[in-house]
Symmetry: C2
Subunit: 453 residues, 2 copies
């Protein structure tokens, strides 16, 4: 049976989209620089069984499958490849279960992160992973990329909350991995293997996550303004040494502050060249004071801490607005390197060097508390030469992260943008292990081919 006949046979009417314009609109993520291919079709499954049937047909016909959630990724992981079927999982968006006593939730992959957070909050529970995309990104996409966020420094990443998955495998079978219990070591941790595999091992059709108790009371925001990256780096080191564990510790540099000022006229750049924004969980006033003391001792020209929930949120605005403010200036090439946190100042200095050497503007947002930096390379739209220089700066920064004992991607994933960097980081023997695992679980090689590996 021809491919499209076979596909139509397993889906209800209206679930296969072949209109090129509609397909094009769902053929890429937010990585402005990553290439995209031309998909053969977009499929909108309604349930796991339909996903299974589609994958089985694709496996038989050796048609690539590219799963996607909301398309908020920053590495090109969800970009179409030529001739592929895009599996748009957004429509599978039911919260199947919230078990308050067991502190777990079971959701379909299309559930938006913030929606899950709001739903479990009604039960006094909290789903911590908080990528900046949380108003739009889906739990399926978060799991596929092992998404991070600002609270990782204290609460960990998506992998730390995924207990179990239902997935469709490369042989077109629908299986359950992992568990619902708090502990469990029966067999290999295939759940952890699928989390962060960026759609290259199978399609996630259901996710079981563990939840924490919702913290009572609003957190405190502590802000420090510094006149140099070196001084801010000293403050980060002082926090690490102090024993305080902030729930977030973010760095925003002068390029970002100016971009936000140009947009929102907030006067942030007048405070200093670099802002550090710390968040302390409710009820730890002593820790908030200690965090501010760390900032002051390290040489903050100005510091403050919030006295109520509204102020705490307002003081985080600089961080929240930095990325959209930069996007207004032109296409942004987003880095995601992570280095040992003590080397954040050294890495920032090297980034500054690459900006000069390659004559590009590089702004920095960083999850400073865990060494995860987001250098943002901005070039004027349409300037091909600047784009080439930016590309070279991007790769140089990846190499420096590796040289400092770090990784090319802390939380965004490899996708298309960081394949060379990842290969350099892992080396040929470990890459060979990856290829063995990929071949074992996706023997037909249909899942997101040409990504990651």
């Amino acid at each position: 049976m021809p491919f499209f006949d076979a596909l139509s046979a397993v889906l209800p009417p209206g679930r296969i989209v072949r209109d090129p314009d509609v397909i094009a609109a769902s053929s890429r993520d937010q990585a402005a620089w990553a290439p995209q291919g031309r998909a053969a079709a977009l499929v909108r499954p309604q349930n796991p069984e339909q996903v299974r049937a589609v994958v089985a047909v694709c496996a038989e016909h050796r048609v690539p499958v590219v799963p996607r959630g909301a398309g908020t990724g920053l590495s090109g992981g969800a970009n179409a490849v030529d001739g592929c079927v895009i599996l748009a999982m957004e429509g599978m968006d039911r919260i199947l279960e919230i078990d308050a006593a067991e502190q777990i939730a079971v959701v379909q992959p299309g559930v938006v992160n913030d929606r899950l957070r709001a739903a479990v909050a009604e039960h006094g529970l909290w789903y911590p992973p908080d990528p900046a995309s949380s108003p739009w990104s889906t739990i399926g996409g978060n799991a596929a990329t092992n998404a991070g966020g600002v609270c990782c420094v204290k609460y960990g990443v998506t992998r730390d909350y995924v207990l179990g998955l239902q997935v469709v495998t490369g042989t077109g079978e629908l299986v359950r991995l992992g568990r619902r219990t708090r502990k469990g070591v029966a067999g290999y941790d295939l759940t952890a293997l699928f989390v962060g595999s960026e759609g290259t091992l199978g399609v996630i059709t259901e996710i079981t996550v563990r939840l924490l108790r919702l913290p009572s009371g609003a957190p405190t925001t502590v802000v420090g303004a510094f006149d140099s990256l070196v001084a801010a780096g000293r403050a980060v080191a002082a926090v690490a040494a102090s024993g305080v564990t902030p729930a977030a510790l973010e760095l925003v540099d002068r390029y970002c502050l100016r971009a936000v000022d140009d947009w929102k006229n907030m006067g942030l750049a007048d405070l200093g060249d670099v802002l550090l924004l710390g968040r302390i969980d409710s009820g730890n006033e002593r820790e908030a004071a200690e965090l501010q003391r760390c900032f002051d001792t390290a040489g903050a020209g100005w510091s403050t801490r919030s006295t109520d929930a509204e102020e705490a949120e307002a003081l985080f605005a600089a961080r929240r607005l930095a990325y959209p403010a930069l996007e207004r200036l032109g296409p942004v090439l987003t880095e995601d390197v992570c280095v040992p946190r003590g080397l954040v100042p050294e890495m920032l200095a090297r980034i500054e060097g690459h900006a000069k050497a390659h004559d590009v503007h590089i702004a920095n947002i960083a999850h400073a508390g865990d060494g995860n930096l987001h250098p943002l390379i901005v070039v004027p739209a349409g300037d091909d030469d600047a784009r080439d220089r930016a590309q070279r700066a991007f790769e140089s920064i990846l190499d420096d992260a590796i040289a400092l004992g770090g990784t090319v991607t802390g939380e965004h994933g490899v996708g298309l943008l960081k394949m060379r960097g990842m290969h350099a980081e892992l080396g040929p023997e470990v890459l060979a292990l990856h290829r063995s695992v990929k071949a074992a679980l996706d023997p037909a090689g249909i899942f997101n081919p040409g990504k990651v590996l």
Copy 2:
């Protein structure tokens, strides 16, 4: 070259043991009931390169490799198989690095858990995973089995602390997996795949763990005595609903209490039929009071909470002594089922039913806070009929754990004792995925064959 000549060629003199008595003494773990084979040799490597060379020789000659740490396992995972080389990793016991600023440690696999904890404590740091075997068991063994412990309910298991590994693969290569940074998503999470794989995918030669700050001040122990498992189960549910997160919540039943009394004459059984022992981190007096209130409201006949470090430790004695007290009575068949924590009372009732149905004594220790139960089946030494009945009770309990949505092993691993149970739990499709992964990473099938899968 004959196998032993090839082995001798890659090791210095004295590293290969062929004396049958010495080999026999290192041919099994603490699972009294698991079968053991006859090893061809015991090898005591001194460094990762020697491990690599031994594995390469074994792969070439298709000789099974059984890695072992301190042999404290409870599932037969380290038991010799016929004709194997036992890789005794205890001698590779160097703490290679403690980086206080980054809060990580790098250790060889033979480092004993308590030794690591003591070493990092000198830097004000804490390695949380605390299996009961911590005075003897090694970090390599802990990682290979993804060991748990009593503090998991708040602080997680070994996997949550292993950032990176150095391993020897099935093709005899020495590679690094994972990272030293707090976050990282470059490639598949092969580190998590190796953690808990019980020596079936490769040999761990180095472990990088993340550390927490050492809590300041002693924890508080809260004890409640109950006249029934049902009342104790009510208390566990009340704790879950209260929002209090104890750092441990252990249950010890009347069989254990009597065994401890018979040994140490502590009068524990006079307090009640079941004890719950909770631990609250220092500085949370309100939570300690709330925990005690949960116990009292659920019907505790007696309760108390510690006022100093010494008392806190003393009140935990019932839990610490329970297992050795039972071992005095005869061979112990140790279960490790984990169920949704709300079903702990139901699971305990079913266990009681199986004890009656099969006419065996079953004592219970449980990590009640996370639903991980350790029914301990004790039979008189040499009573073959009782042993058969115990075996049947063991399997029935596994089936009930699965029926309640749980797992056959929460933290001890599959080894030899839980292979049938694990197969029943995972089902044929997921087992096939396991076999694919195993074949991909251990193509010669030399690593711990006949275990787990």
